[in-house]
Symmetry: C2
Subunit: 224 residues, 2 copies
């Protein structure tokens, strides 16, 4: 019945628009009562994003499943990929929803609050892992925001393209950029790192900005 409500809602949203569609319209088309609708969805906005609650719960469980993770930044990247997979499971639906969300400020606000909850879930995990470290909470918040921004940059490109191309590869590439800059925890830096074993000797002054040293090591592949 839940799926039938989502299908009916989207049929009407796409036909009439989000605002012109009432919950009564949706339940009439789905052939169920109002009470059934509200058993599954607290509001009309929630039926637009039917899988986020489950995904948030899955993400939280995933982050809590390992007490001592040697690679917390890699783990939050993996957690972010759970959101991508939810979108990529059903490209047609995801692209329709993206277009719908763009056109209604109310849905955009709802989406921002969902994104915020994902970001806080990632940050809460990192804060626990960085507890006692210098600037632990700050680093946790910044890394969580960077991971979410990288993930969403790749996700939105894919949605804008109409769901063409390899969304997972695009997200992997975006997340590698964050991991290369931020991973303070050890472990491989993931896709995007140079793979060869050459020894590099860098002679620099201690006051040289770190970005300059990093660019040197990247072989000048950074911007600028």
């Amino acid at each position: 019945m839940r799926d039938a409500l989502v299908a009916a809602a989207f049929e009407l949203f796409l036909e009439r628009g989000f605002e012109a569609t009432t919950v009564d319209d949706i339940v009439a088309l789905a052939g169920v009562g109002r009470r059934s609708f509200f058993r599954y969805f607290p509001s009309k906005e929630d039926v637009v994003f039917p899988d986020h609650e489950r995904c948030l719960a899955d993400m939280t469980a995933f982050l809590e499943s390992v007490a001592e993770d040697p690679e917390p930044v890699a783990r939050v990247c993996d957690a972010a990929r759970m959101v991508l997979r939810m979108y990529a499971e059903n490209p047609t639906f995801s692209v329709q929803r993206y277009r719908l969300t763009k056109s209604f400020p109310g849905l955009r606000a709802y989406e921002l609050s969902v994104v915020w909850r994902y970001e806080r879930a990632l940050a809460a995990y990192l804060r626990r892992r960085f507890a006692g470290w210098s600037d632990g909470d700050l680093r946790a918040d910044v890394i969580a925001a960077a991971v979410v921004a990288a993930h969403n940059n790749a996700l939105r490109s894919w949605l804008r393209s109409g769901g063409e191309g390899d969304a997972e590869a695009a997200v992997d590439h975006a997340l590698a950029l964050v991991r290369n800059s931020w991973a303070p925890d050890g472990g491989p830096a993931g896709p995007g790192e140079p793979a060869d074993e050459d020894v590099v000797v860098v002679i620099t002054k201690r006051r040289t900005p770190l970005w300059r040293v990093v660019r040197e090591l990247e072989g000048g592949q950074g911007p600028g």
Copy 2:
């Protein structure tokens, strides 16, 4: 009249709560008509954040005022500081509003949309500056998100403390963390960088994760 409306609104919000206060209550206390209220504020939420529109406009003007900035990351950090200064100008009001916002989900959602607009303003500037660079849009989005997260981490700590301590120093410290990791553009890395002139020789393998090299250069001051 605008200030009188804000003062009346806050007196009532703190006394009765945000939801129990109507626009009619506010205009009655301020001694003006409803139309005057809506001339200044599109909604009751807007009176809670009366200076964000001006701050957003100032920030956009600041970011557009220099066509060829040699240090775009430093510039978005300076742009973010404009928000901090707005809060720090009036600590009592800012702390009251922080407490009010925390207790009403509707205000929280409104605040998220404001934060999103700041982040997009920073990202739009960086996207222009990084145009043509490899992963320019992605880097712009990630850096904007990191700057906003760092700024808000310091701002929220200051607000939680009741407006005690040096908010500007806390924000400078937080932004330095982002600049040290991300500044792909040159210029000094800002506060937080080692200041002495020692020469450092780093011998590493090319595949060593950059964070590990960076930590080495930082003298092991990073977490872990």
